[in-house]
Every structure is written in structure tokens, then in C-alpha cells.
């Protein structure tokens, strides 16, 4: 795709093949070697650790290399609720983020076209949450919905919530936080594809007596599909692995713990490296399978 920009101006390979070959290697080698060292080998290290067994001669949290595939069976049976919860929360929050972001992206990208300055200002507002620390904005929601807050007090007074029920610590709150935190990741790619939408197609649709709903379903939606795909991927993947929102110190409680929370506490607090690693490998595997199926089904492989 990138080559289209160059067209025939691209230097022909026969021109000076050996020199450009050396240049390519010199340009690529340092970065790729870095990724090999600090991205690929760590993944292998993770798989190796996930198969380790407790050191028979050692003490607490000491492990020796092994091939204990039972570690996987153990984490699946032990943490099945957490696994389900993670993907359930991630799916719900991604769909909510899409529903909230689409009209907003449509407004900025299509309706606000006559006013480019306003478009830029609104885009800045969309990414504004990125500029304040992720943890601080999550804590802000926790305070806003805290047990003593006027929101919860008025929910109690109106009888919507029982006097013993609160908002922080519930799945609702965790999904709310996840949705909020990842909305910019959804809105930006949606905006990018809606901004390029040729409105004459929409006029053609309504000239041919299609109802607005039909024009949307048959024209706007398919044309914005690339944005929907990249937006949903950009939100779903980080949400599935997030552990800040669901943490008990933030928006969640022990009953909302996701895979990320288990990995964090098993790895960093109780030093059960094999189970934490097995869960990580599992999480990555499931996400890779879901993403490749999703991308293939939606027929947008060239996006990657």
C-alpha cells in the first residue's frame, strides 16, 4: 500500500542491489534485534516458566525447569471464572465504547466538515483523557461514585439502590471504567475512516429512495468497517488484559477480579510464577485466536 505513493519513481532493484541490501540490513537490524531480544525471547521465557515445577529440594517460591503441562489444566480449572469474566467484561465494554463513540466520530468526521478548526478542537477533546494519568482518572471515577458521594446517596434516596448496595466494587463500575478509559482508542480510528467517507454516496442512496436507516446500514456502516475493526481491536485487547480498573483499590473488588489481577497477584505478590505465566500464555493465545478469526471473518486482513 505504501508503495503506491512512490509509483514508478521507486529505484529499480537492479540499479545498485548490493548497496541497498546493506543499507536495508543496517536500518533494520538494530530495531529487529531489539525486538527479538526483548519481545520474542521473553515470550519463550514465559512459556518455559509456565511449565516449571516446584523445586523438590527448594523452599517457598522456588521452581526448576520442567514440562508440567498440568499447570495449564490447573489454571483453567482454578481460574475459569476469572477467564470468563475477563472476556465478558472486555466484550461488553468494547460494544459500549463502540455505541458511544460511533455517533461522536460521525459528528466530528462528517457533520463538522465545514468547520475544520472545530473538528481539530473536538479531536483534542477526545484525546484529552490521555493526557491525564490513567490511574488518576480511574480514581476520579471511584471518588465520584464512592459510597458517600451524592450520586450514591441520591440513588439510595430514590430507592434505585438498596441502602446496603453500593456502586464501587460492582461489575457495573468496572465495565463503566473500562469503557471510559478506552473510548479514545475507539473514537480515533472511527473518525479516521468516517472522515474519508464520500457523502455523495449517501446522497445517491437517498436519491434512490433508501430510508436514512437503510443508507446507514448499506453505505455508511460498510464504508466505516475498517475503523470499526481497528477500533474494536484497539479496545478489546488492552481491556482483556487490564487489571487496574478491576483492582480492589480502584473500581473493583475481589468478586470482579479479572485474569490480569490473578496474573499480577500470583506473579508479584505470592511469587507463583508458573501459574501466572501459564495464565499469561493462555490469555495471549486466546486473544491471538480471537483476533485472527475476527479479522478473517470481517475480510480486512490487509489492515494488519
Amino acid at each position: 500500500m505504501a508503495f503506491a505513493a512512490f509509483g514508478s519513481n521507486n529505484p529499480t532493484p537492479s540499479n545498485k542491489p548490493t548497496r541497498s541490501g546493506k543499507v536495508v540490513i543496517a536500518l533494520l537490524a538494530p530495531g529487529l534485534a531489539y525486538l527479538a531480544m526483548f519481545f520474542l525471547t521473553p515470550l519463550f521465557a514465559l512459556i518455559m516458566v509456565s511449565l516449571e515445577v516446584p523445586d523438590p529440594a527448594g523452599g517457598y517460591a522456588e521452581y526448576v525447569p520442567g514440562f508440567e503441562w498440568g499447570n495449564y489444566a490447573y489454571v483453567i480449572s482454578e481460574y475459569f471464572p476469572h477467564i470468563l469474566r475477563s472476556f465478558g467484561y472486555a466484550l461488553t465494554a468494547t460494544v459500549l465504547a463502540l455505541l458511544i463513540s460511533y455517533p461522536l466520530a460521525y459528528f466530528i468526521g462528517v457533520k463538522a466538515r465545514p468547520w475544520p478548526m472545530l473538528q481539530k478542537l473536538m479531536l483534542t477533546l477526545v484525546i484529552a483523557p490521555f493526557f491525564i494519568s490513567f490511574l488518576l482518572r480511574t480514581l476520579a471515577w471511584k471518588q465520584i461514585f464512592s459510597n458517600e458521594s451524592w450520586i450514591v446517596t441520591s440513588l439510595h434516596n430514590m430507592g434505585i439502590l438498596d441502602q446496603t448496595q453500593y456502586v464501587v466494587g460492582t461489575p457495573f463500575m468496572v465495565i463503566f471504567g473500562l469503557t471510559y478509559n478506552f473510548i479514545p482508542f475507539m473514537t480515533l480510528p472511527l473518525y479516521t475512516s468516517l472522515e474519508r467517507l464520500d457523502t455523495r454516496y449517501l446522497e445517491a442512496g437517498s436519491d434512490l429512495y433508501a430510508t436514512p436507516a437503510k443508507v446507514f446500514r448499506k453505505v455508511t456502516l460498510p464504508l466505516s468497517m475498517p475503523g470499526i475493526i481497528s477500533g474494536t481491536l484497539l479496545t478489546f485487547i488492552p481491556i482483556a488484559g487490564d487489571y487496574v480498573n478491576a483492582s480492589g483499590d480502584f473500581l473493583g473488588s475481589s468478586s470482579t477480579a479479572m485474569i490480569g489481577n490473578v496474573i499480577e497477584s500470583n506473579y508479584l505478590q505470592i511469587n507463583d510464577y508458573p501459574s501466572a505465566s501459564a495464565l499469561s500464555v493462555l490469555l495471549m493465545g486466546v486473544i491471538l485466536v480471537l483476533v485472527s478469526v475476527y479479522v478473517r471473518k470481517s475480510g480486512t486482513e490487509d489492515l494488519l
Binding site: F107, Y180, P212, S280
Partner: protein, 266 residues
């Protein structure tokens, strides 16, 4: 495209959406002026003290300066390595191109916990003591792909005729690169560097796995969250926010002035 719902539905919706997006930011700002004690949960009156004496609170400024240091060093390395890859990917044809694209895409498609736990396992296996430098190694790794994506777009939009003109005028390849290609790529490289700094500065999950005992600003907030985050943390967060917004707005205004000037001369 006439919605029967009426003209105002979408604008009103957009305003509501922006209010929703901005609520936590406004909240954080307001509570940075709270005359709070140790925690910052209840409003106790207005004060500028937290802004003027940020560093009085133990740990806040140390964590902040660590984060800036880590951000600067990681950005430097990630930007140089990533720009080189981006130029190679757009400018040259070679084998294994799709495998390289996949290798660059994977870190962005991997959840942060997995990246964090993987690197931590590797450092553990190698017996490396975790600290600021292991955080930097981790940050360069995850910023690299984002730099490549950002700079690639810029390289692709570059007109090769300009470089050709340079060569026709007997510039050597080095001169062509530094006098023509690099200045034209600079805006793309600058935005990649900004993105990379922002990602590094705000990263918590990967950092937490590879930090050892060293603090960064997000780690400080996370550990403080258990007993209450002091207002000084809000001050740091808000100051960073203001700086970033000013930077974005000034770039946009500069671009707009340039555009208008060009429109006038034509």
C-alpha cells in the same frame, strides 16, 4: 442525509459525550486545590498550597523525575530505532517484509500483562536486578512499534522527486538524507517521539512487573491508592495535562496560521 430526528440530536449528543469525557479531568483539577490532609477524599476548602509545595509530599517529585528520565531515554532509543525501520520498510523492497510487519504488529496486539510478565521472567532467568534500567528496556520495546507506525505514514507521503532533485544536483547520499529527507520527516518523527514519551510516561502495567523497588509516577499513584492518594499527585497529573494540551493546541494553531498564509499567497 437528512435525519428525521432533527438537526440538533447529534450536536447535543456530542456535547454530552465531551462532558462525560472531561468529568474525571475536571474532578482531578478541582481536587488538586483541596486543602486536604493525608488523603484527598473530602473537600476541605480551597488552597494553592499543593501547587506551590508539590515536593513537600514525600515521594511525589522523586517518582515524577524518575518517570521523566525514563520517558526521555526510552523515547530517544525507540524513536531512532523505529525511524530506521520505518524508512527501510517504505523505501526498500526486500524479502521477509510481511514477517517483519507481523513482528512489529505483535507487541501492539499483546496485552500489557503478558509483555510485563514475559520480560520479568527473562530478567529473572538472567539474574538481572530490576530497576530503572529494566523499566527503560521494557519501554523502548513497546514504544518501538508505535514509532514505526507513525513515521511510516510520513515516509510514505514524502515525494521522492525531492530527493531525486538533490541527487541530480550532485548531493551525495548522506547530504540527500540530512538536507532533504530528514527535515521533511521531522514532523512525523516529532509526533512519534511525543507519542512514545506519552506512552512511556503513563505506562503502569509493564512498568509494575519490571520496576523492582524503583518508583515511577503511575506506580506511586497505584501504591498510594490503597491508603489514599495525596492532592500533590493531582497537581503533578494536572501540570502534565496542561503542558500536553498547550503543546497540542499550539501545534494546531501554528498549522492553521501556516495554512492561511499559504492560502493568501496562492
Amino acid at each position: 442525509m437528512r435525519f428525521s430526528l432533527g438537526k440538533f440530536t447529534l450536536p447535543v449528543y456530542a456535547v454530552l459525550a465531551f462532558i462525560y469525557l472531561l468529568i474525571p479531568i475536571v474532578y482531578t483539577f478541582v481536587f488538586s486545590f483541596n486543602n486536604s490532609l493525608k488523603t484527598n477524599l473530602i473537600w476541605r476548602g480551597f488552597t494553592f498550597d499543593k501547587w506551590t509545595n508539590v515536593c513537600q509530599r514525600e515521594g511525589v517529585c522523586d517518582a515524577f523525575s524518575n518517570s521523566v528520565f525514563i520517558g526521555v531515554i526510552s523515547t530517544l532509543f525507540a524513536t531512532v530505532l523505529g525511524t530506521m525501520i520505518a524508512i527501510a520498510l517504505v523505501r526498500y523492497r526486500f524479502k521477509f517484509r510481511s514477517s517483519i510487519n507481523l513482528l512489529l504488529f505483535l507487541p501492539m496486539a499483546t496485552p500489557e500483562v503478558v509483555l510485563g510478565a514475559g520480560l520479568a521472567s527473562q530478567f529473572f532467568n538472567l539474574g538481572v536486578q530490576k530497576g530503572i534500567w529494566t523499566i527503560i528496556i521494557a519501554h523502548i520495546m513497546f514504544c518501538l512499534s508505535f514509532v514505526v507506525v507513525t513515521v511510516k505514514a510520513r515516509v510514505a507521503s514524502l515525494d521522492p522527486a525531492l530527493e531525486e532533485a538533490g541527487r541530480d544536483l550532485y548531493a551525495n547520499p548522506r547530504q540527500v538524507f540530512w538536507k532533504i529527507t530528514f527535515p521533511l520527516l521531522l514532523p512525523g518523527i516529532a509526533s512519534a517521539a511525543l507519542l512514545s514519551f506519552a506512552l512511556s510516561f503513563d505506562d503502569f502495567i509493564i512498568t509494575n512487573f519490571n520496576a523492582g523497588a524503583d518508583m515511577t509516577f503511575p506506580r506511586y499513584v497505584y501504591t498510594a491508592a490503597a491508603r489514599g492518594v495525596p492532592a500533590e499527585a493531582n497537581v503533578v497529573g494536572c501540570a502534565v495535562f496542561l503542558l500536553a494540551i498547550l503543546l497540542v493546541l499550539s501545534t494546531q494553531i501554528r498549522g492553521e496560521i501556516k495554512r492561511r498564509r499559504l492560502a493568501k499567497t496562492h
